[in-house]
Subunit: 680 residues, 2 copies
């Protein structure tokens, strides 16, 4: 059996240079500098035995977790050696270093949530105290918001921070989780890793007034012994479907006192008399907007990571499909590579296109965030309230869409590898089950669409029947501004031939869904006598549909814009993927396009897709090579660069703990079962 | 927070008796006898500590496996005590007993594959020898077909059984797996549990002629010490995404000799000179058909099990959605049960309908199999060749459709439980990851449609342009016969109002897809000059679509037929679910219905669905109660009958191994990481 992918690569009809694609994905348009830097970091990690993932399948939770803590410590050392700036988790070097480990750092939420929220919510003096302690990890923090009984509805959180003072006028906070359901539950790094928590709690001021939720820095473990402090009950929330290296935790607080100054005081303050007040003149409106942007970065990162995770899955599945053979050619005994089956192509190449699309889209949206932030910091350019709403809608729509698609896509790729995709050695089980958190965290994918549509309906109201020129004044330049044309005169006509025409079709769909949603809501209130909330509820399915349609338009725009980053030969290939991406969406969501495209168009789309799949087949292996994942990153017997799949599967099998002894014998003692192994 | 599901049940507007639904699901139409028997078996299992699943989350593979072996032994004892007949794995009592354990028996393939194939493929004398040994588990068998390099393409298996004889004319078999890729890989129970394997190998007869694949009984482990026999290398294939209690195994054979009579000789024989011949007059054609039916039972069981597994998922998700609150009612502080959100209903109730549909469909198709078998045994009724092809097409289409839908549906239900659905304590992780084998085993879901469509295209050819009356002669009474009307004159008109009209729409879709497929194949060969295999390949996506459409028609027919089993009040409720089931398929596959239903119909379907969701909401909790799963079966903190979710989640968390010590410390020694726990 021929398992040599080198030959496959030579046979491929590739008319572009995959390294040039890699450079663009690394943000180094035109040169390879950023790619080289990333590879340097990856090499350093790979050659250090501490980062080995080889025995992961046989380790239990405790071992995996402790292992990963050791890796965290080595990461800190490496960062210093390689001069990686750890102060901002969105910097490329930081991302490269963490990703290079191909494992989950239990300290992730320290860098990813605790430090950014300190920078955003603490006053300058507070930052001067906490940030140096964060940077050398004397303080390891987590972000404790979600409770056992409440997640998405932040307003309903039950944890309390009550102001108290002694007779000499010295104030402090007393924190309590007064009910079972108020137990903090889910925060990453909380269970075992962190010694400090940013606790989100209702602020009860000196007059006993509930001021809603605010942030408090609460030490939870002794900084030397790491034991829980008095009044603190903290631990791990138990095994999960994946991500078990991470210690998501629970936290109960019983009359835990912290100093007055442990409240995050950038935007509000409470004085030593317990008097609550907003702070003015500390950057004001712009500062609040910047704070908000910082929190939104996480969603932008999820978009890009959706692309990368899906790219890992397609890399494994495409390579394996070029190695695996099944069924005979009409002539002779040679068997067919399963990648030659149109069905297999149909299962995989759409996800290949999505990988590129989300990867490029994630970069674009992060750039836009950073640019808006720069404008705010410098006071240059105009950042309207509408811009913030628009950004919020875009990020919400994109986070929900991309993470949902990536989760489903990884599983599709796994299934496309047949039985062997079920093996842990395939790399899919950990990739999938760990990824599955993404549709739920940072705004559940089924909640976010409602926030998207609230913004879009505002736009609709302004565009149709709003005061003259208001919509241009408030919304021009916004992501969602394309909808104005669509809802007014129906937009330009689209077509399935080129990427421009396809974009117009996608816009037309979004416009139609928005108009229909507006009409339906009005009809329910005016004609059927529902109240606003009732009408909204009845439209939730339509709302989800519109949010998806909006996300697709944004992604297609970013994809088309992204084409400009490539040179001619690479651009031509990327344009094929871009077209495939849009066509498969029309194929899948055909119901939405009834009325947008003609009846016969559905068949046309289906035929065109089959044609393009044949095109992509010719370069498929090189197209996944261009993602530039090392075997160390992939952790997959099926996805190996050299295609040497079968010996690797056997090697992994032999290492399984089940094979450590020939015979395992159950022994039942007093109704309990133990294991007696006869060592042979 | 109100977590009392009793109150929710009282508030529901239920006009039917859930126990009567349970009785029908248990096959005891009209009385509760079968339900009582099942419950008796479940009680016996539940009260025996050996069957406890409480600590599963903290056990490693070896412990889970050994545990399950102990359960197997206790199951054998219980079977005797409760008079459960273990000789046929499709008998209700057998299924009840195995299901009641809510764990995976490593001996499953013994009962489910080895014993049935012995009954089917061995001659009477051979059965007399092997079956008694199987029944008391002196022989524990497995079915070793799949190899490392080949699965679906059975013709290409590489394992060899070569006839050899000594000079005195005594013959035997020598078995070899001559290459790495020929290593048997995946068979369940092979790794550690079985001492005997039914090995599928190419038969090389006395003249050195390759007679294709045949079955051989090969002892692999010593019947006393359980150690591998000489020439046998056997072990576990390593960790999987789920189903890790099962020891899927690998097997290498190196010059392993077995007696001549260890070849399965019901249909062919090889004499002591190595002469190969077909056996005549041992039931002949009918016997071969019965053998084939026996093998098809597994697919029928997968259909029913798809319904049951999806029912478990919907039970958990619906109950939890009635307990979980989020967001405020317009008036007052009371929070909204998430089951009141239309979106949540849309996510769950379609799967609730599918659960009932597959459950009922699975019973119907199994009944049809048994009836055909009875006809064959008694020689009564006519079983044409077409009937066998039709059964094959139906089972293939249904297996692929139902197992795919159940896998996706379980994951949808898991996601619908938000963060807590990610916890092992939710019950979803084990349910999902173990279920995920089903789309791949027993014919990969993406291979089977091709077999379905080959049969349907035969029908098309006979119906259009075949000789007069031939189609009626060969196909009348077959499942697929409805397509004759569709492809000839387009069938009766359908509508979305009642279940009959919906069935007609679904038939019309299948007919259109069949016609289009036939045309397209012809066009590719005649006009575009493709060869048959090339044309077939280019149509694979359409083939998958047609197979799904056919499965949906069959399921809708079974669902509608199944309505008759219920009394009036229950039937009314079931009819609502049946209608919802069909409508959601039209909503999802709208592209297929372009031309079948009008443009405005898409909106109509979407509106109707929202309306029906409101109907189902009123009885949702009682509708999942009717599945009658005990808490022991569900193994879910979220799905508890009493709704007491949150204390149960905390209890599970506290038991996690991560919480056995306060501080886990990684220690790096010579590049390797160990764990030092400071016991506190």
């Amino acid at each position: 059996m021929d398992v040599n992918l080198r030959k496959e690569r030579e046979n491929q009809n590739v008319k572009f240079n995959p390294h040039k694609i890699t450079n663009v994905l690394d943000d180094g348009c035109g040169n390879s500098q950023k790619t080289e830097r990333r590879r340097e970091i990856e090499r350093a990690v790979r050659k250090d035995r501490v980062f080995s993932n080889e025995n992961n399948a046989n380790l239990n939770r405790v071992e995996r977790h402790a292992n990963a803590l050791a890796k965290h410590l080595r990461v800190m050392e490496l960062a210093e050696k390689l001069k990686v700036d750890m102060s901002d988790c969105t910097l490329p070097d930081f991302v490269s270093l963490i990703s290079a480990t191909a494992d989950d750092m239990p300290s992730l939420l320290h860098w990813g949530m605790f430090v950014p929220s300190c920078k955003t919510l603490l006053s300058d003096e507070q930052q001067n105290y906490w940030l140096p302690r964060c940077h050398d990890c004397r303080v390891v923090g987590c972000y404790a918001q979600t409770e056992l009984g409440h997640g998405s509805n932040v307003r309903a959180l039950e944890t309390e921070a009550r102001f108290e003072a002694d007779e000499r006028g010295r104030g402090w906070w007393v924190l309590n989780t007064p009910t079972l359901t108020s137990t903090k539950f889910w925060p990453g790094s909380l269970g075992k890793t962190a010694n400090t928590a940013m606790v989100i709690a209702r602020l009860i001021d000196g007059k006993g007034v509930d001021r809603g939720v605010h942030n408090f820095i609460v030490p939870i473990r002794d900084y030397l012994t790491h034991l829980p402090l008095p009044g603190v009950t903290v631990g791990d929330i138990g095994s999960k479907i994946g991500y078990n290296t991470m210690d998501n935790g629970f936290l109960k607080l019983e009359n835990v006192r912290v100093p007055l100054d442990n409240m995050a005081m950038r935007f509000v303050k409470v004085d030593s008399n317990g008097k609550y007040s907003k702070r003015e003149g500390v950057g004001g409106d712009a500062t609040q907007k910047i704070a908000y942007l910082t929190m939104m970065q996480v969603r932008a990162q999820i978009v890009g990571m959706a692309g990368q995770n899906l790219a890992i899955a397609t890399t494994i599945a495409v390579r394996y499909s070029a190695v695996r053979v099944q069924g005979y050619h009409a002539k002779g005994k040679k068997e067919i590579q399963i990648l030659d089956y149109v069905q297999q192509q149909h299962r995989l190449f759409g996800h290949l296109a999505s990988s590129y699309c989300f990867w490029i889209g994630g970069k674009a949206i992060l750039r836009r965030l950073k640019e808006t932030e720069r404008k705010l910091v410098e006071g240059s350019g105009k950042v309207r309230k509408g811009d913030m709403g628009d950004l919020h809608a875009s990020l919400s729509a994109l986070k929900a869409y991309c993470s949902g698609e990536a989760a489903d896509g990884i599983e599709d790729c796994r299934k496309a590898c047949g039985g062997h995709g079920y093996l842990v050695a395939s790399g899919f089980p950990e990739l999938l089950t760990t990824y599955l958190q993404n549709p739920t965290v940072e705004g559940d994918n089924h909640m976010l669409p409602q926030q998207v549509c609230k913004v879009l309906l505002k736009l609709l109201k302004s565009a149709v029947g709003g005061e003259e020129g208001a919509v241009e004044r408030d919304w021009q330049g916004c992501d969602c501004f394309y909808l104005v044309d669509e809802v007014r005169e129906g937009g330009e006509e689209g077509g399935v031939e080129g990427v421009g025409g396809l974009l117009r079709l996608l816009k037309a769909r979004a416009g139609r869904l928005l108009v229909r949603l507006g009409e339906r809501l009005e009809q329910l209130v005016r004609e059927e006598g529902k109240d606003t909330a009732g009408a909204w509820n009845l439209c939730q399915v339509e709302i989800a549909r519109l949010s998806k349609a909006h996300a697709v338009v944004l992604l297609m725009k970013h994809f088309i814009n992204g084409l400009k980053l490539f040179e001619a030969a690479e651009r031509k290939m990327m344009e094929v993927l871009c077209r495939l991406w849009a066509l498969q969406i029309i194929e899948r969501d055909a119901g939405d396009f009834v009325g947008v495209i003609g009846e016969d168009m559905v068949d046309r789309v289906r035929d065109d897709i089959v044609h393009i799949l044949g095109e992509v087949r010719k370069s498929a292996v090189v197209l996944v090579d261009a993602f530039d994942f090392t075997d160390f990153r992939l952790k997959s017997a099926l996805g190996r660069f050299d295609g040497n799949v079968y010996p690797e599967i056997m090697k992994a099998a032999m290492k399984d703990m089940m094979n450590k002894q020939q015979v395992w014998e159950p022994v039942v003692v007093k109704g309990h079962v133990a294991v007696r192994g006869s060592k042979l």
